[in-house]
Subunit: 371 residues, 2 copies
DNA sequence: ACGATCTGTACCAGATGCGAC
DNA sequence: AGTCGCATCTGGTACAGATCG
């Protein structure tokens, strides 16, 4: 170290790998190091000519300020912490991806802490890890409702931006309006003439799932339709399949003509179980999903569903984040509402049979048992 | 600042939000900050009693060392840079997730830079962003072959670990053996009796896709079977659908009995197009996919496919990363090989018709036009 | 004299208040 | 008043030196 310094003074630098510092730039530009600092931070009181010289020196040396040194003194890192809970699902993954791209284009680094589960302890340690890195904000994209609770329970010291559709307070939220999406889904079904519309809900620890249940219930109520107890799955096609099987094997005729599934995967499993038991979709029962994952257009039958714009969601997260950091009192981005995508899994109900309990329907087209 | 220091000396600290520093710990423990540093870094020559006192002070003050300060002086950040290219697909997303969890449990932070496309310029700027953060290594999980090229072309100064199945040199790679997976897929088809096995390949800029093509070709060759020109899609169900449609509308009878699809999504689109044109899967044509995404077990019919263990892949990335950082001359983790998952989309070929150009097969079970 | 233990000081690479031209 | 430089600060690590039995 001492030797290098010495050599440097004499104009000899033996360490080829060393990166340029603000001092090197200053020396080359013939100014003091903090004049360089002024130029770097766009502060006033620097003569244009001086600024030019400094800038030339900067490019000449390919100088880049050290984030570590900067973070140390400013206590801000220009990085934001991103916490996700839940598996590699299309929606969250998409949002994360677009959020990350947007953040980078705003010259923010993002430090990621993702976890399959959402147990409070690991969540807490993840938050601590991020906090120690001097993240300027924390973004939470959680599949589990509990995650938001525990993160809110931690003294963060930095703003928290969370994807949340429940309208809870205490943090900055950005959302897609699950409630309205659910109502639109049910409205579509009801508009086709369905009166007995079941709901295959997502897990109870999901805010989105709860909001969709609420929307389903309210839309039904507004139309004077009855809401049976919703089935609650876990978002997986397997759970959709399980409930589909249960429904199909309940014995006798089906006592419903349509199902609003909490997401496309469960819809897939449901449809699979139904058709395996000889019920045709949509001839016997209509099924609508939620999300519009890329696959759903090619399901058999192509799935009618509610599209969520996850790309915009990701960008909106950054947008509100930037606003919050700039201390703007903006009310945030208004929630987007999912868009109905009509494909082939929904149709009018089979027969307007007011008689209770018709035996297995007559439409045999497309029915066959599998395996 | 000066005021605070003064108050501090008098024992009054007015800034409640200030976090404890190593000096605070030292003062409380009655030692020098340097001694504190020693216990922090598990260095020798600290009396057990002293160590105890320091540790007590640390917990009392809830002290956590500042990564910024540490990074500044050590020039290592304990964070690793993660670059991903491509969309929110199940495989990469899964791997990223598990990698991140593993990294965190090894007390490494990960700074993420994901991008949909892989154009050299944004890739380069992403790498620069990471490098400036003093990441200790860069992990690349790229859908596009070109991404690896351009990243390799950059003077990183830190190790590069990339997911790559081609066996290229110049970086540390961790992989799933796509070649063997492809051979196994074709072997399964051939074992069923198929002799005319098409391949619906992934895009040419994907190493994985190329390896699968190679495996398909080699397995066919070894069995004395002919390899038609592969179709090349883009991983999307839409592209699978397009090729399925083209095949079905080629006129006359099908000149193949099985298709090896490059991934499950394309297989889905393909099956969809085939069945829409009245061809039954697997009665008329067998289809095998690749990846085993969670949905594929519930496709119609449930898809036979090659399962890749993305979870382990993610963990393996961290494992080799750790080995590289520790400068171990380990040869890395051996590539895993995908596992055949037999479901219902593959079966023996329809009829052992050696006569060329049989007209539309006789098996009508399960055939119907959709829409 | 000497090894174990601990302290003092320089240093990392920037930002910032204050004073000087 | 507008430009610019000196000194000091951020929170750690590293190395040399001091103390002590």
């Amino acid at each position: 170290m001492r030797l290098r310094r010495l050599l440097e003074v004499v104009g000899i630098d033996d360490d080829k790998t060393r990166v340029a510092t603000i001092f090197d730039v200053a020396r080359l530009a013939g100014v003091s190091h903090q004049t360089v600092s002024r130029v770097l931070n766009d502060l006033p009181n620097v003569r244009p000519a001086t600024r030019q010289r400094v800038e030339k020196a900067i490019t000449a040396l390919n100088y880049r300020p050290s984030p570590a040194a900067r973070a140390l003194v400013t206590r801000r890192s220009r990085t934001i912490g991103l916490i996700t809970t839940g598996g590699p699902d299309y929606g969250p993954s998409s949002a994360v991806l677009h959020f990350n791209e947007a953040a980078r284009s705003s010259r923010y680094a993002v430090s990621m802490a993702s976890m399959l589960s959402s147990d409070p302890d690991s969540l807490r340690s993840a938050v601590e890890l991020l906090l120690r890195q001097n993240v300027e904000a924390i973004v939470l994209i959680a599949a589990h409702r509990g995650a938001l609770d525990t993160v809110q329970g931690i003294e963060l010291g930095v703003p928290l931006i969370a994807v949340d559709s429940s309208g809870r307070a205490g943090f900055h939220s950005v959302a897609i309006d699950q409630y309205r999406g659910a109502r639109a889904a049910v409205a579509h079904l009801a508009g086709l003439g369905h009166t007995r519309i079941l709901h295959l809900a997502g897990p109870a620890d999901s805010t989105d799932a709860l909001e969709r249940v609420r929307g389903w219930r309210d839309e039904l109520a507004e139309r004077g339709l009855e809401a049976a107890q919703p089935m609650v799955g876990d978002w997986s096609p397997a759970s959709g399949f399980a409930f589909g099987t249960a429904l199909a094997e309940r014995g006798g005729a089906l006592d419903f003509t349509a199902v609003f599934a909490g997401n496309d995967q469960m819809a897939l499993g449901l449809v699979h179980a139904l058709t395996a038991h000889g019920f045709a979709v949509p001839a016997d029962v209509s099924v609508i999903g939620f999300d519009d994952i890329p696959e759903s257009a090619y399901f058999a039958p192509p799935l009618t569903t509610m599209r969520q714009d996850f790309d915009s969601l990701g960008r909106d997260i950054l947008f509100t984040l930037l606003a919050v950091l700039a201390d703007e009192e903006s009310s945030g981005v208004p929630p987007m509402v999912p868009e109905l995508v009509i494909r082939s899994s929904t149709a009018p109900p089979p027969v307007p049979s007011p008689t209770s309990g018709p035996d297995v329907g007559a439409a045999d087209v497309g029915r066959r048992a599998r395996r």
